[in-house]
């Protein structure tokens, strides 16, 4: 694929992620923070988010497997997850966390377990999509092109 094609693919893909609710305006904020002096900013933040999330999901799974569930702990983890997903604009994950916290408050085990499944699903989905997006960006840059951020506002 030549650069122009890759750039168009990038625009289309990014637009679809926003349209389908995987990402929200906060992701655009992050893109604004990337420039020639910090060309890998988004990739770096996203990578931190992945690390953070895997840890949180592992902790959540562990706490919810216990005989006596410590709902305070569950809530603390979900609150963190909600925070980080919100900070990078991972909208579906953030919304899942909001629902999750409600079930925590009610100490509803079934509800929490369902939410855990849902948030895992949505996390892995957005993870693969972000990875694909970043790979495409790296290909564009490697081919000497630039990321056409300005195309998104049109």
């Amino acid at each position: 694929m030549e650069v122009g094609q890759m750039q168009r693919a990038w625009v289309e893909y990014t637009r679809s992620l926003f349209r389908e609710g995987f990402l929200d305006a906060q992701f655009q904020q992050l893109q604004l923070l990337q420039d020639e002096s910090n060309p890998d900013f988004v990739a770096e933040v996203v990578s931190l988010f992945f690390e953070d999330s895997e840890r949180l999901l592992a902790d959540l799974t562990f706490v919810l497997e216990q005989q006596n569930i410590d709902f305070k702990k569950v809530d603390a983890h979900v609150h963190q997850f909600k925070g980080s997903s919100s900070s990078i604009g991972a909208q579906r994950v953030k919304n899942d966390c909001i629902a999750f916290r409600n079930f925590c408050e009610e100490q509803n085990i079934e509800g929490c377990l369902r939410c855990l499944q849902q948030v895992k699903q949505d996390y892995y989905l957005v993870k693969s999509k972000l990875e694909a997006l970043i790979r495409l960006e790296q290909q564009i840059v490697a081919a000497g092109g630039s990321i056409p951020m300005e195309e998104l506002s049109s």
């Binding site: 904020q29 992050l30 900013f41 770096e44 933040v45 690390e51 909600k82 925070g83 980080s84 919100s86």
Partner: protein, 167 residues
């Protein structure tokens, strides 16, 4: 809350500081730079706030907890390697919900200290809880901003603080 002339005041302030200080050689107090101490327990948020501040031409120090912040400021009772005179902080931005010491508790400690009580403190939180907001403002917080923090938030806060007491 503030007049629309902040940009002008900002420019004047920046120009006069640059004229006074000139080129900085060696270790100076860095008074020409707007130095922000950011406190947040989240890896992701620390990375984002650091970039938001740097892109807004601020000098940034980021720490992961209230106790680290106090350590940095030399308020933890231990002997700090940085003397008060060398440490020039123009703004402290802290997350509210942190394990150990909350942003509110950090705010209180800062306002109780004679050395640092004049430094504006901004609280960041994902939760829009009125009683919490009131409590922070009553304790002397400059602002309580809702996360996720945006570039426009940082710009506005910096303009307000650099513009002087526009209240």
């Amino acid at each position: 809350m503030f007049s629309g002339d902040m940009a002008t005041a900002d420019e004047i302030l920046r120009r006069s500081l640059t004229d006074e200080v000139g080129v900085s050689k060696g270790s100076v107090s860095g008074s020409e730079e707007f130095h922000v101490l950011a406190v947040d327990d989240s890896f992701v948020d620390r990375k984002v706030i650091e970039r938001l501040l740097k892109i807004s031409s601020c000098k940034v120090t980021v720490v992961e907890s209230g106790s680290r912040a106090l350590q940095y400021l030399g308020l933890d009772g231990e002997k700090s390697s940085v003397g008060f005179n060398d440490l020039k902080i123009n703004l402290i931005m802290t997350d509210y919900s942190m394990p150990g010491m909350t942003g509110y508790e950090l705010l209180k400690k800062i306002k109780e200290s004679s050395a640092f009580r004049e430094i504006p403190v901004v609280i960041m939180s994902s939760e829009n809880i009125l009683t919490r907001i009131d409590r922070c403002l009553e304790e002397g917080a400059e602002e309580y901003i809702i996360k996720p923090v945006k570039l426009s938030d940082v710009k506005r806060i910096k303009d307000v603080i650099m513009g002087g007491d526009g209240k």
